[in-house]
């Protein structure tokens, strides 16, 4: 594992992430926006790889690119009456912009004060095997709770989206 994070892959992935995020906001077609969300997820998976989090990058691609974006596209298609319904006005509001800018200023201040305290990049990065060992020892209880959350959410989603005949 390198002890530094190269700037050029980071710059490419950062540009992909931010461009995709802005296109989600600025695209006037809901279907295009869903595909831009998919692109942002893939770029974030690349950033996880840069941070030596290979397992999370895989999960990101499996869960977000594989499942969530397909689910988003399904819902977009199911809630459109005609092809023209996909084209929408931009819905940009000044209030939301002001709130987002205020949060951005606060977050930038926090990052600016916090980030310099962690300059040195540690060389040691355990692999997927160590991740799995910790997941089933130290984080076993959280793992089981997460499984129950997923099961309940699955049943709830089927119940909600199912037919009205009950």
């Amino acid at each position: 594992m390198p002890e530094t994070i190269p700037a050029i892959p980071f710059a490419i992935l950062a540009v992909l992430t931010l461009y995709g995020a802005f296109m989600v906001i600025l695209s006037d077609n809901v279907v295009h926006a869903a595909f831009w969300v998919l692109e942002v997820m893939m770029a974030v998976a690349g950033l996880f790889m840069l941070l030596s989090a290979g397992y999370l990058a895989l999960v990101q691609i499996l869960v977000y690119a594989g499942a969530v974006s397909v689910l988003l596209l399904f819902t977009v298609m199911l809630t459109l009456r005609s092809r023209e319904d996909a084209i929408r006005p931009l819905d940009l509001s000044w209030g939301a912009g002001a709130i987002a800018l205020a949060v951005l200023a606060a977050a930038a201040t926090l990052v600016w004060t916090f980030a310099p305290s962690l300059e040195a990049l540690p060389a040691v990065t355990p692999g997927v095997a160590e991740f799995g060992r910790l997941l089933f020892t130290r984080w076993a209880l959280a793992f089981e709770v997460a499984s129950i959350v997923l099961l309940v959410a699955l049943v709830g989603a089927v119940w909600w989206a199912g037919s009205d005949e009950r």
Binding site: I99, L104, A157
Partner: protein, 103 residues
Amino acid sequence: MTVGPIAFMGLAAVLFCVGLFGALSKKSAVMVLMCLELMTNAVNLNLVTVSRFVTPTSMAGQFTAAFIMVVAAAEIGLGLALVLALYRARGTVELDRIDRLKG
């Protein structure tokens, strides 16, 4: 040429705020859910960055990010099921038209 934690955390902050802007300003329920996913991704990116620099061996931030992914998957599944139920009941997913409680 290398980058430090500030670049990753700054990127996460900007991504979070773009998602926040979209979640607050979009009028389509599906678009709001997409923007919520952008915000979740920003939080995960921040957690993984801090985990890489602060706890590289115990990977606490990576585990937290993994469990956030579980909750986010549950949230998007339930959210989209709600949108479908809403569409069936009201025939629209425009948040402006969901105004039954308006006086």
